[in-house]
Symmetry: D2
Subunit: 174 residues, 4 copies
């Protein structure tokens, strides 16, 4: 039984966390590393209750493997029909993960009625001018309101996962 199903009685959004810039912290040794999911504190500050945070991975998204993405797909497939799912993710490979999920979760045919939204942050949630709270708020709303499918939500914009890409020089999704 997958983790998502184990929490199926909760009405809110399932938030699968995978690491990435959003979760990075600055260690006592002066390195950035993936900390615990930032989503927890961001939800708490916003009074956003009833959601389920499922920590899946703690990786820079450039290090995600095909097996990691298979695991995410399996977790999404294990969520109840109609579920709203947010995946917090490093920004560098959001499009790749999105297209992997599109292929492996039956979303292409929109047959299983789940809405999966991938989001993250260009600045870690621990930075004072981070975009993390804005993006997580956007993604949680999007997961509840968009039709079934797989999306990237960044900058307050919904991107089609089939065509979205990160403009690395600008630090923007287009």
């Amino acid at each position: 039984m997958t983790e998502c199903a184990a929490n199926a009685s909760r009405p809110g959004v399932y938030i699968l966390t995978t690491g990435g810039s959003i979760d990075k912290i600055y260690t006592l040794q002066g390195e950035m590393e993936i900390g615990p999911p930032a989503a927890r504190e961001l939800l708490e500050r916003a009074g956003a209750t009833g959601h389920t945070i499922l920590p899946v991975l703690a990786k820079d998204s450039l290090d995600l493997t095909s097996e990691d993405r298979d695991r995410l797909a399996e977790l999404v497939n294990g969520c109840p029909p109609g579920a709203a799912v947010v995946i917090t993710h490093g920004t560098d490979t959001m499009p790749e993960t999105g297209r992997h999920l599109l292929k492996h979760t039956g979303h292409t045919g929109h047959t299983d009625h789940k809405t999966v939204v991938i989001t993250g942050a260009l600045q870690p949630a621990a930075m004072s001018h981070s975009d993390a709270a804005f993006n997580l708020g956007s993604a949680i709303l999007a997961a509840q309101t968009l039709p079934p499918g797989v999306y990237v939500v960044m900058h307050g914009t919904v991107f089609d996962v089939a065509t979205v890409r990160k403009d690395k020089a600008q630090g923007r999704f287009v």
Copy 2:
């Protein structure tokens, strides 16, 4: 001609700002007062471009008058068909403003196809643990994805404007 129409060529969300806790700053004289719209900096941090901020009022929402709400309704009515509108607003009377707009903007019959989302913050955007960025991110997404109507979006939840109320003791919308 209303301000909204004057910006009708821009593709993004119209953000009407009215003051409220989200915009409060602490003055040199030790008082909280309404500052410039916090939405500007929140959008900038999130890289959320293409939206139009229209400062309408700078008031505590307990001080909003029927004339103020008429002005908001008029501005919404002046927005182009299909427009996505976010109103940043003090939390105390969001439901009243929402119901006023429902009555005076033709939304009851859903005849004009605008989506109006009222949001704000329980903690000013200037506080380090504010819910402002999360709520604005949610509202901007909601304005683009919800069917035409008038809504309150707080805590990452969409509330029906006909029944929403603020539980003042808990500081929560229910």
Copy 3:
């Protein structure tokens, strides 16, 4: 026995907290009120250990009475000889409290070798652009390095308590 003496075995600075802007928080009801001493979290973030925080009052400094200041003087008098004392305080009446302490703690004659530094913040510690951490860091250092006496330390400057005043229009001590 006073509180200060009860902690006399600790080597660090005694921090007497009285409220003021530095400790203000924004309540669920949308009011600013005095919260718990901000000094605790500020010290923790700075890794500043070994100090003793003694919450004395939780007041706006305009509301401090002569009895309140007598109580502060009594507490300072109860601290061990040579003690380093910081008082966190609202900005409006720092000079008055300073001169009261000068008169009632034997500091005029510098007979008891204590260094008392009054500080606070123009922006509450809970605001993201607060001056609280900078001022508390300055004051803690000043209490350990200045000769016995009573001082106001704000903006990284040591002010003579006999002549310091707050320029309320500028929000600065001069």
Copy 4:
């Protein structure tokens, strides 16, 4: 003529910046790198005016060379007699730089009456829970109040530069 002397008519503290964690920012490409001196914004928030910021280097302190430290010594030597000097610096080699300055600025004999205080931050100033403001406030005060010599000021504590070391596991100076 050194930069310090070029500003000799200003009464405040000379702040030589060298980079280090305090100045690190998170880039659009997801790397931490040295940004512009954080001291500028920290002073501004604190209303600490009249000081002179002299950007000298922008390096991780592990990358500082003997030539870099010679340059710092030369700059300190060029400051006017009695000057108060703060050096913002990466935490890893503060003791080495301190001892280099002690040897090369005539401070061992306390012959030239300058007070040099090395400080920095374990968490970049750009992080919301940074110790940067507290440390800079402490250092600026220390530079004005300590007798001539070279010091490290961190955690609100003055350390003897001859014996201070960083406990890297704990992230503390001892």
